[in-house]
């Protein structure tokens, strides 16, 4: 399926503007002390939004064959599971060792 029927130069420019704005917000909240308590979840959400926008619009996954979504999404999900599992295993082991 051709993605050109769906995405135009205007769309690409709007996505770029949104990506830049989100990056500015990320850097901005990094320096504002009031956001320190929610900094990590906020940054992760903003990063996920940027990631999704690039994959959906610049990599054309939104308009392309669904099979590509499966080819990319499957390993991506597995990678996320690996990251989270390793963190749980490692910090669980540290807690057991230190009793904290």
């Amino acid at each position: 399926m051709s993605e050109q029927a769906h995405a135009t130069t205007g769309t690409y420019l709007r996505i770029a503007a949104i990506l830049v704005m989100i990056t500015l917000i990320e850097v901005g909240i990094f320096y504002v002390p009031v956001f320190q308590s929610v900094l990590v979840p906020l940054l992760l959400v903003l990063s996920a939004v940027k990631f999704t926008l690039v994959v959906m619009f610049y990599m054309h996954l939104k308009f392309d064959n669904r099979f590509f979504t499966f080819l990319f999404g499957g390993p991506l999900l597995l990678a996320l599971v690996v990251v989270v599992s390793l963190l749980f295993i490692f910090y669980g082991a540290v807690r057991l060792r230190t009793g904290m």
Binding site: Q4, I15, V27, L43, F51, Y58, G74, P75, L76, L87
Partner: protein, 202 residues
């Protein structure tokens, strides 16, 4: 034999449709990108597992330069924009703009690499080497692997640009440019994650 060199050339230029009706090269490349997710996932997991466990400095908060890296992030995001504009131009047969945007993408990639070289040199000067502490080891391996991918991407883009200059790249090769774009955008999304996980979440 019916499958002569002309048939082969046509097959190379247009690819083969799989039984699912998708281009075999794009399918293979998406599978490759999937495997790359696991590679970078492992490296990011390693970085996170050893985060805050360095026994000696320099520590991340002492050495990481957020304004500078924000500029590098902006640079890479703009290179992604240049890449989609290059693909759109090649697809509609506007090779003048196609060549321009391919070159702009490669140059923005070179700017990013220059920034990374400066950053690494600065860190080494500050006393952070590959074996200094856990932060140094995991940081250099993660960002260095990403930098190696950017380097491959820049070489790939310049190769395409030279092909375009020689008149060997046109709308008939749009899938080649699209696959290059997939690689380049993937490098960009990996940086989006690295920027957040390594630089902003300290």
């Amino acid at each position: 034999m019916a499958y002569n060199t002309d048939t082969h050339a046509v097959a190379v230029a247009h690819g083969h449709a799989t039984f699912m009706g998708v281009d075999n090269r794009k399918m293979a490349f998406w599978a490759f990108i999937g495997s790359e997710c696991l590679l970078f996932g492992s490296l990011i997991a390693t970085y996170l597992v050893y985060k805050g466990r360095s026994l000696v400095g320099p520590y991340p908060h002492e050495i990481l330069n957020i304004p500078f890296t924000s500029f590098s992030t902006f640079d890479l995001l703009m290179s992604s924009l240049a890449m989609v504009l290059a693909l759109a131009a090649v697809q509609r047969g506007d090779m003048k703009k196609g060549k321009l945007w391919l070159l702009v993408t490669a140059l923005l990639g070179l700017v990013f690499l220059g920034g990374q070289f400066w950053e690494f040199s600065h860190f080494v000067h500050e006393g952070l080497g590959l074996t200094t502490n856990l932060f140094g080891s995991t940081f250099y391996v993660l960002t260095g692997t990403h930098g190696a991918h950017v380097t491959v991407g820049v070489i790939w883009l310049l190769t395409l640009w030279i092909q375009a200059l020689r008149g060997k790249l046109g709308p008939q090769n749009a899938v080649t440019v699209e696959i290059t774009g997939l690689y380049w955008h993937f490098v960009d999304v990996v940086w989006i994650v690295i920027f957040t996980v390594v630089y902003l979440i300290q």
